[in-house]
């Protein structure tokens, strides 16, 4: 048995360590550890603060999925204070969210994930003429997927960001890569396992095309976030408001934050989102994924085959509360639920719905700490976010010293990430999970599908036809997880066009309100208020829970996607999605576990998000161990 350590894992957000125990003879992974190696304490920092400021603090949980914690936070405070936002604010927030979905997924594929699949070294062997031929062939072969994205506005005369397919273009990129390699200063391409056999799975022309697109998309990605800059003033970390948004709309005032010119800026960038997804991202995904599937690289499903979870997203219109259940009557994206055993086929899979009251139910969502660096009085039990206990308890490694690890202790505590569970069971979350839940909900007839749900089904059917495999075979795999992310980026772009049209229509109808200020003053609040804010972040379902007392935050907790996916094993022996994926992937070269890395990357890990603590109501900070109150976040 070999024990392979990768620390730091790169091309993620934050700090992560993985350890894999491999049978050298068979290349089979017998066990795997995922350890969150960072912590900040933001929940503790929020205590005692003005709830109207919470979104700004919470947003700094993560700058990659920027805006999503702000969204979860304002929803959470509004749920606690019974505030319903105006229609325009709902549409604007949805567009900002859809823009995150497009940007985050696309940048993840090209700039964080792609180098697990393609190599600049292989790209040097490509024939630029054949690469141009290939680009055209791929657009012909897979381009029809763009037709699945409805456009209710119709203002784009023709695509502006069309992939270039001339030999000279690819030759220029190849020349640049050649110069870099020859300069000896390889920069971000240095020191990697480029000689791993998997880099030979794709022909050199695919490598060159993909590397060229990596660079194109690095130039273009900034444009995808323009809606956040217009509506929120900046990106990363745009501004929100409890009660709505601050970007007032007026067609009569020259200096209004939003007028027709500003809307045109937003509209133009949404079309850029559409083109980047339809013409670059999805085509490249299908090109690479198709070859990988044909060559039998269908491992890495892990937990996705057994159990996935989502909370639901994209409220069509403003709602009256989340814990009241009204949010779930308004959503368009019905990924709210748990699906078990999808790998047995969509008819045999078991579906369980999730709605508002389930987030207040102490038995539904809980966190365990048996294998994480925290203490509970009884670590065989899990705790709901509103009942949490925080006592950090760092125990060091199995081998090595407290400040210089050799190997962590999988039988003991080994991570700053806790273990969230649904009814005591581990679940995978993310675009793949959402697609499985939505697909199952529609196919088994549990919901009246919205246009968004129907688009999800059509997208999955399109890819199934290309791969000539049913969804339950190709979806729960590393390739499938990667494909689902791309399809969801297309969903985000579609959502943006849809909500922009709604915004136009509403302004046309004479409604320019963007903020409900009726409950702005703390004097209008109850002495004690409890709220929950949920959203579907790029990496999975996200929840914030708050208790407000006397106008200040008494308790604030976040349970975040990468906590679910990257968390330590629970006392019942259930392992999280990262660990299950690594166990479900081969290792062809023992000291270069590229398959494990590719699998971990397929979750788009975000560690700043994953580590956190929560406090009991009114529990004094003095009970928490010193050296700073070691809350984590």
């Amino acid at each position: 048995m070999a024990r392979v350590v990768v620390d730091p894992v790169t091309r993620i957000e934050g700090h992560l360590r993985i350890e894999i125990i491999v049978d050298e003879k068979t290349g089979k992974v017998v066990d795997a550890l995922s350890s969150g190696t960072m912590w900040r304490g933001i929940e503790l920092i929020l205590r005692g603060r003005d709830p109207r400021d919470a979104w700004a603090f919470a947003q700094r949980i993560c700058g990659v999925c920027t805006s999503i914690h702000a969204l979860a936070s304002v929803r959470c405070i509004e749920d606690a204070l019974d505030i319903q936002i105006p229609k325009n604010a709902n549409y604007i927030r949805n567009i900002m969210h859809g823009s995150l979905q497009v940007h985050d997924h696309l940048v993840h594929f090209y700039h964080l994930h792609a180098l697990d699949w393609v190599s600049p070294v292989e790209a040097l062997k490509a024939d630029p003429v054949q690469t141009a031929v290939l680009q055209n062939q791929l657009l012909e072969k897979y381009g029809a997927i763009g037709d699945l994205l409805p456009d209710p506005i119709g203002h784009r005369a023709y695509p502006k960001k069309f992939p270039k397919a001339t030999p000279g273009y690819f030759r220029a990129f190849q020349e640049k890569i050649k110069k870099i390699v020859e300069s000896g200063q390889l920069g971000i391409f240095a020191a990697h396992w480029w000689d791993h056999p998997d880099y030979k799975l794709l022909p050199p022309e695919v490598h060159l095309m993909a590397v060229a697109h990596y660079l194109n998309m690095l130039d273009v990605q900034r444009e995808l976030f323009i809606p956040q800059v217009v509506f929120g003033g900046k990106n990363p970390h745009p501004h929100y408001l409890v009660g709505g948004m601050t970007c007032s709309i007026s067609l009569n005032d020259m200096n209004a934050p939003i007028n027709t010119e500003r809307l045109a800026v937003v509209e133009d960038s949404i079309y850029t989102q559409v083109e980047a997804v339809n013409l670059f991202y999805l085509v490249d995904l299908l090109a690479i994924g198709h070859i990988y599937v044909q060559k039998g690289q269908t491992y890495g499903g892990g937990l996705a085959k057994k159990r996935v979870i989502g909370y639901g997203e994209f409220p069509d219109e403003p709602y009256k509360g989340i814990k009241t259940g009204d949010y779930h009557t308004k959503i368009l994206y019905h990924c709210n639920g748990v699906v078990e055993d999808f790998a047995e086929g969509v008819e045999k899979a078991k579906y369980y719905p999730l709605v508002g009251k389930d987030f207040a139910d102490p038995n539904v969502i809980q966190e365990f700490v048996a294998h994480s660096w925290y203490k509970y009085p009884d670590e065989s039990k899990g705790l709901h976010p509103w009942d949490g206990i925080t006592e950090p308890h760092y125990t060091g490694p199995k081998e090595g010293t407290k400040t210089n690890w050799k190997y962590l202790d999988e039988k003991g505590k080994y991570s700053w990430i806790k273990s969230p569970r649904w009814r005591g069971k581990p679940c995978e979350m993310g675009p793949l999970a959402r697609y499985i839940v939505t697909y199952t909900a529609v196919k088994q007839g549990h919901i009246k599908p919205s246009w968004m749900d129907e688009m999800v089904v059509r997208q999955i059917d399109f890819v199934s036809k290309v791969l000539e495999l049913p969804p339950h075979v190709w979806l729960p795999t590393t390739v499938g997880r990667t494909a689902a992310r791309g399809l969801e980026a297309q969903l985000g772009a579609a959502a943006n066009l849809y909500f922009l049209k709604k915004l136009y229509d509403n302004i046309k109808a004479g409604d320019t309100s963007v903020a409900n200020m009726e409950k702005w003053d703390p004097s209008t609040w109850l002495k004690e208020a409890k709220g929950v804010g949920i959203t579907e972040a790029p990496r999975g379902a996200l929840g914030h829970w708050v208790i407000i007392k006397d106008g200040k935050i008494a308790n604030y907790q976040c349970v975040v996607p990468t906590t679910w996916n990257g968390g330590a094993r629970d006392p019942m022996g259930g392992q999280g999605a990262f660990e299950e994926c690594m166990k479900d992937s081969p290792v062809k070269v023992i000291d270069k576990p590229l398959e494990a890395l590719r699998g971990i990357h397929s979750f788009d890990p975000c560690l700043a998000c994953s580590t956190h603590v929560y406090d009991t109501e009114g529990r004094e900070i003095v009970e928490v161990k010193v050296q700073g109150a070691q809350a984590c976040y």
Binding site: V6, P8, V9, T10, R11, I12, H15, R17, T37, M38, W39, R40, G41, L44, I45, D50, R52, A56, R60, C62, G63, L112, S183, G184, Q185, G187, I188, A190, A191, H192, W193, L218, D219, R222, I226, V229, G232, G233, N235, H237, H239, L241, T246, C247, S248, M254, A256, P257, P397, T403, W416, T512, M517, W520, L597, A608, G628, Q630, C632, Y633
Partner: protein, 348 residues
């Protein structure tokens, strides 16, 4: 860093003698004569500034802001101005491979690489709230700084502490200047800093081979020389006494001054009013939300964002004489030339 050809020129060596030198060196290193043009090219080509970009406790918004730069584009910066030899976010390699590469680069370019730090070190729990390669980030930071020519503190985390250092600072997170005390540090605060400010600092280093002129706080004067209040496009409304009283009121639609709803413009030094965000597209005030002061020290603890404050400390920056950071020395000692030449040509 000047090229070797430039060094030779500076010492009065003719082109012909330079080529003779290159020929001799080629033979000395056991390379075939066909390699002479390569050797010459290596001597003539200016190496890009090597940058090691490490991450402590942070949220990665600085990295994300960096790639939003329109001018210069991140691709031009990364491929043609600098050589980003280490970055948690973008580097292909992981684990032992990337850590060994970091050590090799440090050794190879000792005294000549730039250390860029995003995030900050926690001092609590012996630093084990932030771990790289099984050891505290604090150690990684101190070690990597040793051979740096200069250090860039990206964002408010590295410059001041930012959100994790806000009360009660659970992990005892500190800004990097508390840990690195013997190197010039360029502070580029903001949560995050504006994209073109970040790439502007890098471009200045690559173009002028020197640290941009810094103010008494260690911030580049060209980006942090004025308060938002001085350059804000809504200043005329402030002067005329036209204020937003409540969000989405009539004044908000008219784009009036946000002073009364808590704007920190009067006490915040940054380029949001002039360069703005996204190459001039907008900034928070333009979207109707007051400045929260994200480039200033302690901004998280200066009271609720929507309340008008009277006691925000404003450091005196305009009047103090500035201590300009040490100018970078060219790497041209004769002994270093031969050594550098050898490794440069060999490293293909």
């Amino acid at each position: 860093m000047e090229t070797f050809w430039e060094t030779f020129k500076r010492h009065g060596v003719s082109r012909r003698d330079f080529l003779r030198f290159a020929t001799a060196i080629t033979g000395l290193m056991g390379l075939s004569p066909s390699m002479i043009p390569e050797v010459v090219r290596a001597l003539e080509t200016k190496p890009r500034v090597p940058v090691l970009w490490i991450h402590g406790l942070e949220c990665t918004c600085c990295s994300e802001s960096f790639i939003r730069s329109a001018t210069p584009l991140a691709s031009d910066v990364l491929l043609s101005m600098i050589s980003l030899e280490y970055d948690d976010t973008l580097s292909a390699a992981a684990g032992d491979a990337i850590e060994r590469h970091r050590e090799e680069i440090m050794k190879k370019y000792w005294g000549n690489y730039i250390l860029a730090v995003e995030g900050n070190p926690p001092l609590g729990e012996d630093g084990m709230y932030c771990i790289i390669g099984g050891k505290p980030f604090l150690e990684n930071l101190k070690e990597t700084a040793k051979g740096a020519k200069a250090v860039i503190a990206w964002g408010s985390c590295a410059s001041w502490g930012c959100v994790q250092a806000a009360k009660p600072n659970p992990t005892t997170a500190v800004p990097i200047h508390k840990v690195i005390t013997d190197k010039p540090i360029i502070k580029v605060p903001g949560c995050p800093p504006i994209a073109e400010v970040m790439t502007g600092v890098i471009m200045h280093l690559a173009l002028f081979d020197s640290i941009p002129p810094l103010d008494s706080q260690g911030r580049p004067k060209q980006f942090y020389g004025n308060r938002i209040h001085d350059t804000c496009y809504r200043r005329a409304f402030f002067n005329a006494g036209q204020f937003v009283e409540r969000f989405d009121d009539d004044g908000a639609k008219k784009g009036w001054c946000l002073y009364k709803v808590g704007c920190r413009g009067p006490t915040t030094y940054n380029s949001c009013g002039n360069i703005r965000w996204y190459n001039g597209l907008s900034y928070p005030i333009q979207a109707g939300h007051g400045c929260i002061g994200c480039a200033e020290e302690n901004f998280w603890d200066n009271g609720p964002f929507y309340e008008r404050l009277t006691n925000i400390p404003v450091p005196k920056v305009e009047a103090s004489p500035d201590k300009v950071g040490a100018t970078l020395a060219a790497a041209a000692a004769a002994g270093a030339v031969a050594h550098g030449l050898l490794s440069k040509v060999r490293n293909k």
